[in-house]
């Protein structure tokens, strides 16, 4: 019995009365929270190791085997650190801002299907929900920069606001392509529609362009190099979180890595088939043995592998590229990515209308 069918049995067994359903939802929320906190710690460790090996060094080596407990030590340090609030800051806003950033990210995680059964809320407007809720994160950044009462923070916050709102357009345009092709806003349906081929190559050309646009604009949306203008340390010292310390700073840090996880998970779900295993040909074809072996790998592992490869791509960007300038950033979005996105959308519409995409009739890749 695979892990997923086991959990599905538990869910169907428990899901009999409204009371247990609510209890399940709450325990799911707590589980998501725990999973995500662990995820952020792991991601921070991975980022440090990846960065180190890109830079011909070892990275954390002291705390635990190969520094595996480094993130835990860092978290402990941040908890014990003094929480400094600037004298002239708006105290309430200053305290609320990091919470906004983290909560927005946790809310998006509810909708992401980790496997066919491990989905907390499989809403029928899942994609819409994610793009709406993730937009809340910018509120946290803006509030944090503004309430700090520091000009550098304010510049960083304003940069982040302009950047995230601009790039949200491109990201949404590329997501719209997938919605159009699969004909649904529900994430589980979108994944089901990729059973015979992932959207990145199933729609000839269009899927790939949408994927590249999505990767670029989502990197910009989560403020990572080459688009880390909001916190560009050589320009704005630390941007919007200059005046944050201790646990409040850790919240922004946590949100940043959860952001990375969420956009990579979304990218994997929309373009790389989510938890769907990789299949070549249909079940009776030449590769049926290969397909059966692929099916043995649990769905959750597939999902995490795809997400991890996108996360690695993002880290690769970060440790290779320098930062864009603020006007170049806007130029890239409004003069290059947006027109491409619209053109791609029109192409996708034509394709959907004429049914011109690969493997439409149940034949695998």
């Amino acid at each position: 019995m695979s892990v997923s069918s086991f959990s599905r049995n538990i869910v169907s067994h428990l899901d009999s009365s409204p009371g247990t359903s609510a209890a399940l939802f709450v325990s799911g929320l707590v589980g998501t929270l725990a999973f995500m906190s662990l995820m952020a710690l792991i991601l921070i460790y991975v980022e440090r190791k990846v960065a180190a090996h890109f830079q011909c060094r070892l990275g954390p080596m002291r705390v635990g085997w190969h520094g595996i407990l480094q993130s835990v030590a860092d978290a402990l340090k941040l908890i014990l650190k003094e929480d400094i609030v600037p004298f002239s800051a708006d105290k309430l806003m200053h305290a609320t801002a990091p919470v906004f950033a983290v909560v927005a990210m946790l809310l998006t995680l509810i909708a992401i299907p980790l496997s066919s059964s491990l989905t907390l809320a499989d809403s029928n407007i899942g994609v819409l929900y994610i793009s709406a809720v993730s937009g809340l994160g910018v509120l946290g950044i803006l509030l944090g920069g503004w309430s700090s009462n520091n000009k550098w923070s304010l510049i960083g916050a304003m940069r982040a606001g302009a950047q995230i709102i601009s790039y949200e357009l491109s990201a949404t345009l590329s997501v719209l392509v997938i919605i159009m092709l699969s004909g649904s806003l529900k994430l589980s349906t979108i994944i089901q529609s990729q059973a015979n081929g992932w959207w990145i190559w199933r729609a000839p050309g269009v899927g790939l362009i949408a994927f590249i646009t999505f990767i670029i604009s989502s990197t910009a949306e989560i403020n990572r190099t080459p688009f880390d203008l909001a916190e560009g340390e050589s320009e704005l010292t630390a941007g919007f979180h200059t005046e944050y310390s201790g646990m409040r700073f850790a919240f922004f840090f946590l949100a940043e890595y959860l952001n990375l996880f969420v956009v990579s998970a979304l990218g994997a779900t929309l373009f790389l088939g989510g938890w769907m295993p990789l299949h070549i040909g249909d079940q009776q074809g030449l590769f049926s043995g290969f397909n059966q072996v692929m099916d043995l790998i649990p769905e959750f592992v597939w999902f995490m592998l795809k997400t991890a490869s996108l996360i690695f791509l993002s880290m690769w960007f970060r440790w290779t590229f320098p930062r864009l300038r603020v006007d170049q950033l806007m130029k890239l979005e409004w003069k290059i990515l947006m027109p491409i996105g619209f053109l791609n959308l029109v192409l996708a519409a034509l394709m959907t209308f004429f049914g011109f995409f690969f493997f439409a009739t149940g034949r695998g890749f």
């Binding site: 960065a51 050589s234 010292t237």
Partner: protein
């Protein structure tokens, strides 16, 4: 003749802060504002303070405020006398410490008419070029970091470390080195010096390709540097810039060529010059200079003549005849000149250092306005300022 119109006018900081535009009453009016960049800021490389007048993201005016690390080096030099002041110069431009030693020693040697042998000249030249190489390597790494790419920083430091190790073996110090003194060097070369330098040269040559692949060829780097902070040749001369900053503006002025010292007249090397004087030219000039340094060391390392490393008695009192003495050399950042006034006693009556960074920084007030904050950062980094050298 210096064209004074090309030089920005000097006014006090208070005066400029007072001259802020009057507030407009219309609801959509925007206001220019002042921001302090530094003295504690990651990209001002030390304790340089810049007061910026910003209009949104656009820099309208840059006012450098100096003096945060002023230590009165010239006064100290007058107090401690000829021989000891050499050992203060490593704290001026800490990335060119041996070169600074050399200029001050050369001035004293000129004043006291101390003769040097060939070995001293060759070894001094090799050390100066090694230091130029490590200084440019550090600049390259920091430049990448200022533009937002962290990886070049560690690549630069990794390779600079090899040069630092060579310094450490012969001199004993890694950063603030005191090696050259009036009449020669403090110690003779370490026995493994030649072999180490040769292996360094073998290592460095393919590395330049790696630097180009990582940074030079990157489209974002090129977009960020081209046509940013253009300094035309006339302004560069009028502002008194020197070194790579001047040469990037298209002025082929290098003291190693025009007034050769050491054994620079006996080696073949080219002086790279730019055309537009933007950040990209300044970047390219330094990248090419590193290759030239490698070529100079390569020509000299096998031909170090035999001889003593010191031609005067250690600790001998130096009493130059009365007069005014001046000597200048090309450090990694530009022309470092030393002026000494002697009255025939053991101590100079007046010492003045003409340090390259002070003049190179000044052109910031001319080329930075009009750009974005990001441009300002890349301009500061392309000028390659070392703050203790500005304040002295």
């Amino acid at each position: 003749m210096v064209n004074m119109e090309l030089i920005p006018k000097v006014t006090s900081l208070d005066e400029r802060l007072g001259a802020m535009a009057a507030h407009d009453d219309s609801p959509l009016a925007t206001q220019e504002y002042f921001v302090n960049m530094g003295p504690q800021h990651p990209s001002t490389h030390g304790v340089l303070r810049l007061v910026l007048k910003l209009d949104g993201e656009t820099v309208r005016e840059v006012i450098p405020v100096l003096g945060y690390i002023h230590r009165g080096m010239e006064k100290k030099a007058e107090t401690v006398g000829y021989r000891q002041q050499v050992h203060l110069t490593d704290r001026l431009d800490y990335l060119c410490s041996v070169m600074n030693n050399w200029v001050v020693s050369a001035t004293i040697e000129k004043a006291a008419k101390i003769e040097l042998n060939d070995r001293i000249q060759v070894v001094r030249t090799i050390f100066a070029e090694l230091q130029r190489l490590q200084s440019h390597l550090l600049w390259w790494g920091v430049f990448g970091m200022d533009l937002g790419a962290f990886t070049p920083f560690l690549y630069g430091f990794r390779d600079r470390e090899k040069i630092t190790k060579i310094f450490e073996e012969t001199i004993g110090a890694r950063l603030t080195m005191n090696y050259i003194q009036p009449g020669g060097m403090m110690y003779d070369l370490h026995p493994t010096f030649q072999a180490e330098v040769k292996s360094l040269l073998l290592y460095m040559k393919p590395m330049f390709k790696e630097y180009d692949e990582l940074v030079t060829g990157n489209i974002i780097i090129q977009e960020r540097l081209r046509n940013v902070g253009c300094l035309d040749a006339k302004s560069a001369i009028a502002l008194g810039t020197s070194g790579p900053v001047l040469r990037a503006s298209g002025v082929p002025h290098d003291l190693r060529k025009s007034k050769p010292y050491g054994v620079y007249d006996k080696v073949n090397f080219r002086v790279p010059i730019g055309s537009v004087g933007d950040c990209w030219d300044r970047y390219a000039v330094r990248m090419l200079e590193m290759r030239e340094s490698v070529s100079i060391i390569e020509q000299l390392i096998d031909n170090i003549p035999e001889g003593k490393h010191l031609t005067v008695k250690p600790g001998a009192k130096i009493r130059p005849p009365a007069g005014v003495y001046f000597e200048q050399m090309e450090t990694a950042r530009g022309i470092f000149g030393v002026l000494m006034n002697s009255d025939g006693s053991e101590k100079p009556t007046r010492v003045n250092y003409r340090t390259p960074n002070f003049h190179n920084l000044w052109c910031l007030t001319k080329i930075a306005p009009g750009g974005k904050i990001g441009d300002l950062v890349s301009i500061i980094s392309s000028l390659d300022v070392v703050v203790p050298d500005i304040d002295r």
